[in-house]
């Protein structure tokens, strides 16, 4: 019976069960719950980046910028118009996708890989100065404060479940994209570009589609993040979140589906641990990114492959 369900499905259901039940049993420990909520945001961000970078091979480095744009636009929308954040969040995600696709996607998608890197990095680099110059509305360098909560008198448990819902929906859709014809088209383009083109794949259109979708999810996570914390500042555009996200994507396994989520688990909880021990997080993270690339180029998903292989061999022996 156990064998039939498969260990991967078991693991997924088990972890979902833990997440669902955690607040029920450990209601009092809101610190861990806080970290869980951060994990939901980061996992969506890293997964959306992985969709773009790992699957579609679009080397954009602006994804954290996209996340922050999502946070600012939803926060500003809710604060200035008074519309319920529950409506602002998806609206902001759509707006973010539009802005980013227009300013980064359209110009850069015709470029070659390395140019996209530099171009998107410049875009992200330009954001803090944009915020400074629009200080009147965005709060400039001091950040944007008093972002309305999702609803009045909301508790952390509620945020926890809303975050979890966003996490589930986003990942489900990303999973669907990866396994849809669009996802296959990117694998096809990666495996053999000329053949893929001559079989009728419109590369530009597919890339634009993925660009918009991945910006949407990054924006969505960002918007929720802003409302949860109640404030957002340009420091989120700094090197530390950027590195954290890139490390998640890489540690889980570039271009592997739940990889970025696994990377997010390890790094969100790991970096909290590092924060507690007071060690220099960035030095260790920077070194970790290099070391993973060298010694575990396929990321933690490699462990999944190894277990699969062992299972296969075992089955072969039994037969």
């Amino acid at each position: 019976m156990l064998n039939k369900i498969g260990w991967k499905k078991m693991a997924i259901w088990l972890s979902l069960l833990v997440i669902v039940l955690y607040p029920v049993f450990f209601h009092s420990n809101s610190y861990i719950m806080h970290i869980f909520i951060l994990f939901f945001c980061w996992a969506v961000l890293a997964s959306s980046w992985n969709l773009l970078f790992g699957y579609a091979g679009i080397w954009s480095l602006a994804q954290v910028g996209v996340f922050v744009i999502g946070a600012y636009s939803s926060g500003m929308m809710a604060k200035f118009t008074g519309i319920s954040p529950l409506i602002c969040i998806p609206l902001a995600a759509i707006l973010t996708a539009l802005i980013v696709t227009l300013f980064v996607g359209l110009p850069s998608l015709r470029l070659k890989g390395i140019y996209i890197c530099v171009f998107s990095l410049m875009f992200a680099d330009a954001l803090p100065s944009v915020l400074t110059q629009t200080r009147k509305w965005t709060g400039g360098g001091r950040g944007f404060h008093d972002i309305p909560p999702l609803w009045n008198n909301i508790s952390r448990v509620h945020y926890y479940y809303v975050g979890f819902a966003i996490f589930l929906i986003s990942l489900f859709i990303i999973y669907k994209i990866v396994n849809s014809s669009t996802g296959k088209a990117f694998i096809a383009l990666r495996d053999s570009r000329d053949f893929a083109l001559s079989l009728g794949i419109n590369e530009y259109k597919e890339r634009l589609k993925v660009f918009a979708l991945s910006s949407f999810f990054a924006g969505l996570a960002g918007a929720f993040y802003g409302h949860y914390l109640g404030h957002i500042s340009p420091s989120s555009l700094g090197i530390s979140p950027f590195l954290l996200a890139i490390a998640m994507m890489e540690m889980g396994g570039l271009g592997r589906f739940p990889g970025a989520v696994i990377g997010a688990v390890v790094l969100v909880f790991g970096s909290e641990l590092l924060r507690l021990t007071g060690m220099s997080r960035l030095t260790i993270l920077g070194a970790a990114v290099v070391l993973i690339m060298l010694f575990m180029p396929k990321g933690l998903m490699q462990i999944v492959d190894i277990i699969d292989n062992i299972k296969l061999r075992k089955n072969a022996i039994i037969k």
């Binding site: 410049m122 680099d125 590195l243 890489e250 993270l285 970790a288 990114v289």
Partner: protein, 289 residues
């Protein structure tokens, strides 16, 4: 008129300095075809090493710079052997070298921060005093910087044209297959080019630190500037990077003087867009000629 003159001079100075930095980037790209995302931090590292040798070890100025150059060669070979060489063997090296060099850059940045602290470091000027030419004041130090970078470029030019190793590097850049056929060990040439690129970059960092403040996180801005210069001059084109840097340096100084400092970053952004849309192969063509 004097304003224009001073803007031109300051443009040439900054152009020379950033030119020297971009040259390191373009050598590495030209030969290995990989982008070094840790580039800015490498320049900062060079500056910090020279500063440390000068102010803590108390070497004299020339000694500190020379010794830091030597140390940067070591850093280059270390990074190449431990990281780049391993990654180049994997089929996805264009991906993995980007991510690994970002990681390396952040590692080095924070290492510097922990060792030397967050205070701004800068090297002393080489020569005190200044002269007045037609109403424009130029410091001797600035003149010496322009001349030093110019002679560095000449030395590099002679190296690439006249020496066996320089020719081998150009050969690998232009046709790796052809290079293998004439018996060049391409991996070895990669390592030399990387070492050289890193050392020149470190040197440029030392020069930069005599003109502007150096703190570790500035490296990322420097790197992006370096990329734009390299894209302008043609990927892998050494002299092209120098000329492009002079041109962009002068234009930047004009923007600062006549439009305003706030617009500088937008100016670089637009320049980059323009060059990408008009001539993606750069103004002077891409191959290491």
């Amino acid at each position: 008129m004097e304003m224009l003159g001073e803007a031109m001079i300051s443009g040439i100075i900054m152009g020379s300095l950033f030119g020297a930095m971009a040259v390191g980037l373009t050598i590495i790209y030209g030969v290995i075809k990989m982008f070094n995302f840790a580039h800015g931090i490498i320049a900062i590292l060079g500056a910090y090493l020279a500063w440390w040798l000068f102010s803590s070890v108390h070497l004299n100025l020339i000694g500190a710079i020379a010794f830091s150059f030597f140390l940067m060669l070591l850093v280059g070979i270390l990074i190449f052997t431990l990281i780049i060489r391993v990654l180049l063997r994997t089929p996805r090296w264009p991906y993995s070298t980007i991510i690994a060099s970002i990681g390396l850059g952040i590692f080095l940045q924070n290492l510097l921060l922990q060792i030397f602290g967050p205070r701004i470091k800068s090297m002393p000027v080489f020569f005190e005093g200044n002269i007045k030419v037609g109403g424009i004041t130029i410091g001797w130090h600035e003149i010496s910087l322009i001349l030093i970078v110019l002679s560095l470029m000449l030395i590099l030019r002679i190296f690439f044209k006249k020496t066996t190793l320089g020719n081998a590097m150009r050969a690998v850049a232009q046709s790796p297959e052809g290079a293998k056929i004439v018996g060049i060990n391409t991996l070895k040439i990669f390592s030399y080019a990387y070492m050289m690129g890193i050392a020149v970059t470190g040197l440029s960092g030392v020069f930069l630190s005599t003109k502007c403040y150096v703190i570790p996180h500035r490296g990322w801005d420097w790197m992006v500037k370096g990329f734009i210069i390299v894209a302008f001059g043609g990927l892998g084109n050494v002299m092209g990077a120098y000329y492009a840097a002079l041109l962009l340096g002068i234009l930047e100084a004009l923007v600062v003087t006549y439009v305003g400092t706030v617009w500088v970053w937008n100016f670089w952004f637009v320049s980059f867009l323009v060059i990408l849309l008009i001539r993606p192969e750069g103004l002077l063509g891409g191959r290491m000629g």
